[in-house]
C-alpha cells in the first residue's frame, strides 16, 4: 500500500487521536467524562478518514503542497527567539527588534542599510502607535524586563 500524502495526513490524525484518547483515559473518572466522549469522537473520525483514504483513495497529489521551508524556518526561529526575549528585554524593545528583523529578512531584493533604516523607522512609528493605544489609552502594563 502506497503511503500517499492524504494517507500520511490520515495516519497523523490517527496518532493525534490516539494521544487524545490516552490522555483522556489516563486521569481518574471524576471530571473526565466529557473529554472521554470527545476523544472517542476524534478517534472515530480519524479512523473513518484513514478508512476512506484506503478504500476510496483521493488523488495522490491531493494536499501535496510542498512547504517552503527556506522561508518558514527563519520566521519560526524569530518567533521562538521573540518568546525567549520578551520577558528578559521587555516587550517594546523585543518587538521592535522582532519587527526590524522580520521586515529586513523578508524584504524583497537586496538588503541595504538604507532599507533597514527605513524598517527601523516604520517599526518605531508602529510601536509608538501601539504604546499610545495600549499603554497610554488602555492602561495595559507590559513587562519591562532589562530595557523596556
Amino acid at each position: 500500500m502506497m503511503l500517499t500524502k492524504p494517507r500520511q495526513v490520515a495516519l497523523g490524525a490517527l496518532i493525534i487521536a490516539l494521544g487524545l484518547v490516552a490522555a483522556s483515559w489516563a486521569g481518574g473518572a471524576y471530571g473526565y467524562s466529557f473529554p472521554r466522549v470527545v476523544s472517542l469522537i476524534v478517534l472515530t473520525l480519524a479512523v473513518v478518514l484513514l478508512a476512506v483514504e484506503i478504500l476510496a483513495p483521493g488523488q495522490a497529489e491531493e494536499g501535496a503542497i510542498s512547504i517552503p521551508w527556506g522561508s518558514i524556518i527563519p520566521a519560526l526561529a524569530i518567533f521562538f527567539l521573540l518568546l525567549l526575549a520578551l520577558r528578559i528585554l521587555g516587550f517594546y524593545v523585543t518587538t521592535l527588534v522582532g519587527f526590524v528583523v522580520i521586515s529586513s529578512v523578508y524584504m524583497p531584493g537586496l538588503s541595504s542599510s538604507r532599507k533597514i533604516l527605513l524598517n527601523i523607522v516604520i517599526g518605531t512609528g508602529f510601536l509608538a502607535v501601539l504604546f499610545g493605544v495600549f499603554t497610554a489609552l488602555l492602561k495595559v502594563q507590559f513587562p519591562k524586563g532589562l530595557l523596556l
Binding site: S33, S71, A75, F91, F134, V140
Partner: protein, 516 residues
Amino acid sequence: MELLHYLPQVLSGWNLLILIGGTIVGLILGATPGLSPTMAVALLIPFTFKMDATSGLILLGVLYTSTVAGGAVSAILINIPGAPANIATMLDGHPMAKAGKATQALYYCFISSAVGGVLGVLVLIFLTPYLVNVALKFGPPELFWTAILGITVIGSLGSASVLKGLLGGAIGVWISLIGFNPVTGTERFVFSEHLQGGITIIPALIGLFAIPQVLQMVEGAKGANGGERFDMAPTSVIKAIIFNLKKVKALVIGSLSGIIVGIIPGAGGQIAGLIAYDQCKKFSHNKDNFGKGEPEGIIAAESANNAMVGASLVPMLSLGIPGSPTAAVLLGGLLIQGLFPGPDLFTQHASVAWTFMGALLISQILLVVCGLWISGIGKYVIRIPRHIMAAAVTTLAIFGTYSVQNSFSDVIIMMSMGSLMYFGMQYGFTPGPIVLGIILGPIAETNFLQSQMLAQAGDGMLRYMFGGWLNILLVSLCLLSVAYSLYASWQARKTRQRATPDHRVQVHPEANHDAH
C-alpha cells in the same frame, strides 16, 4: 419598534465615533492584501475589552462589514482578493481596472455593498426576534445539541474536507477542555504551567487566524513585486450611483443569494459572491461580457458579500450558531463581554442587542461614504509590502494577546497554536472549525454535565438527551448536515476519479506522439 427606541444611542457621540473610525479602519484592513476579515476582527478584539459591551460589539460588527467590502479594493486593483469573499468581484473588477475603469469599479462595489448590506441587516432585525422565541424553549440538552450543531455545520459545510472539518471541530472542543472542569472544578490536561489557566478564546483566535497568515505572507515576500497597478481616473459619483441603482436585477440576485447563504450556518461569504455571480450571469442579457469587465458581475458579487454579513448574524445572535467563520469570531467577542446569544440577549441586554443591530444598519451608509473616499486612496493602501505587513501583524498579535489577561502564557499559546495551524492548513485543515470547537466546547460540556445531573434524577440520560421534538430536530439537523456534506464530497470525489482516466486518455496519445 424597539430599533427606533435605541437608534439615538447608536448616534450618541462615542458610538458614532466608533462607527466612523471602525468603518475607515475596516476598509483599510480589508483593502490590505493578506488581512482577512476574520483575522482583522480577531486581532482587534482586545481593543474592545476596555469598552462597554455595546461599543465593543459595534466595533466588531462594523469591522466585519467594512473589511468584507474593503477586500474588493485589492481584488479590483491588483487582482488579489483582500478576502476570500471577494474572489467573484475580482473576475470582472480587475478587467474593468485594466480597461481604465478602476474608479468606476470601486464605486459600483461600495454602492452595491451598501445596498446588499442594508437588506442583510433588515433580515437580521426582523428575523432574529422570531428565532429568539424558539430559543426560549431551550434547556441544557437543547443547548448542548445546539453547540454540537454549530460545530458540525461549520465543520462539514464550511470546510473543503468534511472529515477534516469535523475532526478539527472535535479537536477544538478537546483543546477547550484543558484547564478546569466547569462543574467539578478538577484540573485536567495541564501538561505545562502555561496551560494552568486553560486555552482561552483570544489567544486561540489570534493565533489560529493571524500567525498562519503571517507565515503565508513571508512565504512569497522576498519575491513579491506588488503585481500590476493601474492609474485611477476620476469619475462622477452621482452617475455611478444612478447606474448602480438601475441594475435592479443584479442587486436583487446578489442580495438574495447573500441572505440565503448567510442564514445557512457555515456556508461562508466566499460562496455567496460566487453563487450570486453565477446566477446573475445566467439571467443577464450580457452573458458574454462576464469575466471581461461587466459591471453587473461586480454589483451582484459585492451586494451578496455584504448581504451575507447581516444574515450570518441571525443564527449567531438567536441560537448561538455562527453563519460564517467571522461570525464565529464575533461570537467569541460576545461571550468575552459576558453576553450569551439567545433570549437573554434580547430581554436582559436588549439595549446592547438593538443598539448593535441599529449600528450595523447605520454602518452601511457610512460604508458608502467612507468607501467612496477610500476608492481615491486605495492605490496607496494596497502598496503596503508583505514583509512590513507580516512584521506589523506579528507585533499586533503579541500585544493584543498579552493585553487581555496580562498573561505571558497566552502569548506562548497564541504563537504555538498559530505555528501548528500553519502546518495543519498545508494538509487541508482550516482554523474555523477548531476555533468554533474552542468557543463552543465549554458551552457543550457545561450543558452536557447539567443534563447528566438532571437525567440522573429523571428518566435516564438517553431519554433526556434524545427526548422531545426540539432535541430530535437538532440531532437530525446535526446528522443531516454531516450526511449531506459527506454525500456531496463523495460525489465530488467520484467525479474527480471519473475525470482523471479521461484526462489520461487525452494526454497519453499526445505524449506518445511527441515521443515518436
